[in-house]
């Protein structure tokens, strides 16, 4: 079970700079993958491609596992609706048992007392904790994190970190960030994204060294590319976990 990107070529906003140049990438379920890249290198776009929510102009993606939306994305929540209504929306979207899903999310997020409150009037920590718990309760094969793993109160962060580490090898995650420490502390496989290519590392120190050299504008290592496969297709049903 994996998500594989083949020969993805894509330009940035406005069609100017080349964001991905014949890029190949494979994410297997059970892996803890870190994508390191500098600002505007295309990390968020790459996560959206993995999620299957970014149009592909050249290349293709083979998806045989369900993938979350990039966390902590929360714009699907309606601020003037209650927390419970927002939870039920995600429950319906993914065909979950409404009541059980509501209970599990509220428990995981620690927001039982806010269920009937409008989201807009809830304390600030509710939204990130709710977003995290919603995605975790859907039980995707691969989770995508943009910029950081968890936001919220410290107690929740500790609980969530344990949860994330415990989900491997049944599930996996991809964390895209420019913070080397976050990536090396939480991941086993590292990709350095630079000038439209990715270089793969399995050693944190090598990845860190390469990334730092990029930051100093002295990258010397050639990107390591994977062999493309011939057959592929978009499969949204797997994204929806069916």
């Amino acid at each position: 079970m994996s998500v594989e990107l083949y020969n993805i070529t894509m330009k940035g906003e406005g069609g100017g700079q080349l964001l991905f140049d014949d890029l190949d990438l494979r994410i297997d379920v059970g892996e803890r993958v870190g994508i390191l890249g500098q600002s505007k290198s295309g990390k968020s776009t790459l996560l959206r491609l993995i999620a299957g929510v970014e149009p592909i102009y050249k290349g293709f993606i083979e998806r045989s596992s369900s993938v979350s939306w990039p966390l902590p994305f929360a714009d699907y929540l309606v601020a003037s609706n209650t927390v419970a209504t927002n939870i039920r929306f995600v429950s319906r979207l993914y065909g979950m048992d409404d009541d059980r899903f509501l209970r599990d999310v509220a428990e995981m997020a620690g927001i039982n007392e806010f269920l009937n409150e409008e989201l807009v009037s809830c304390p600030r920590f509710v939204r990130p904790q709710l977003t995290f718990a919603l995605a975790m309760t859907v039980k995707f094969d691969i989770y995508l994190f943009d910029d950081n793993l968890i936001a919220g109160e410290k107690a929740f962060k500790d609980k969530a970190t344990q949860l994330i580490q415990a989900m491997v090898p049944r599930q996996g995650f991809v964390l895209a960030s420019s913070a080397v420490k976050d990536i090396t502390a939480n991941c086993d496989i590292f990709y350095i994204l630079d000038k439209g290519h990715v270089a793969r590392y399995e050693d944190a120190k090598d990845a860190e060294k390469h990334f730092k050299s990029l930051a100093q504008g002295a990258a010397t290592e050639a990107p390591v590319k994977q062999e493309p496969r011939e057959q592929a297709q978009e499969d949204y049903s797997s994204v929806l976990g069916i």
Binding site: Y57, Y76, R92, L93, V239, L240, I242
Partner: protein
């Protein structure tokens, strides 16, 4: 295949309910305001009818006559104009895997169908009681032709959606067309009100056929001389093919 359709239906249901729950949420009784909105539109158009002093045809209760004309047209118009707006307003939802622009557009269309459908049923029952009118001639055919008016709005919306994306003032121009459409589609009049020589110039309009058929299926005293369900079906099929093709063509070419 079946699983994919099931999943798509699930997404559509979730989005439709979300669309309903998001209506006027800043106000108390949020969704009730959406229903009231339709009632106010109906009342305004009824006043317009009084203003132009048009008379209802004999044998047709006046308010029910108006209701059977206005609801299909308002449903068509609201559906056709709201779909693009729904995609633009909810475009962040497209970051959720499995949610497509078409889902957002169809969810909005479903919400309109439910809202206007409820107003139609409640209004028709109320008017029939108030005006002491009997049941429609054929309830299944009334439902079918009302559904056709909604479908016409969906497919017309699919065709015009990209237009507004490429050329934003298109929405305003289409709005002007709707005002003429209200008159030309037989919302306030039957086609028999017009001289017979004008019929060939008016009956190209599929909405006129829908209005005529609605009155024929509702009232025992009226048989349309021009309304054709086959003609309506041909328009639906044509607009469906054109609308879906246009949507597919612009999907990756014109950003939302």
């Amino acid at each position: 295949m079946y699983q994919s359709w099931k999943a798509q239906l699930r997404v559509l249901t979730a989005l439709t309910l979300r669309e309903m729950q998001s209506q006027n949420t800043s106000l108390d009784y949020g969704y009730a305001w959406a229903l009231l909105d339709v009632c106010i539109s109906l009342a305004a158009l009824t006043l317009l009818k009084v203003f132009i002093k048009a008379l209802s045809p004999p044998g047709m209760p006046p308010i029910l006559f108006l209701l059977t004309g206005m609801l299909p047209y308002l449903t068509f118009q609201a559906t056709a104009t709201a779909m693009e707006g729904a995609i633009v307003r909810n475009r962040r939802l497209l970051l959720i895997p499995g949610v497509t622009p078409l889902d957002l557009a169809f969810a909005k269309a479903m919400q309109i169908f439910c809202t206007y459908g409820v107003v139609f049923v409640v209004g028709a029952v109320g008017c029939s009681y108030f005006e002491n009118a009997g049941l429609p001639r054929s309830i299944p055919l009334v439902i079918m032709i009302y559904f056709a008016s909604w479908l016409m709005g969906v497919f017309y919306g699919l065709v015009t959606m990209p237009l507004s994306r490429v050329f934003p003032p298109a929405g305003k121009i289409i709005g002007v067309v709707w005002r003429f459409g209200l008159i030309l589609s037989g919302v306030f009049f039957l086609i028999t009100t017009f001289p017979e020589w004008t019929w060939p110039y008016l009956d190209w309009n599929p909405m006129l056929h829908i209005e005529e058929l609605m009155r024929t299926y509702w009232f025992y005293t009226y048989q349309t001389p021009v309304g054709s369900f086959v003609y309506v079906s041909e328009w639906l099929a044509g607009l469906a093919i054109l609308g879906l093709s246009v949507e597919r063509y612009v999907r990756f070419r014109i950003p939302i």
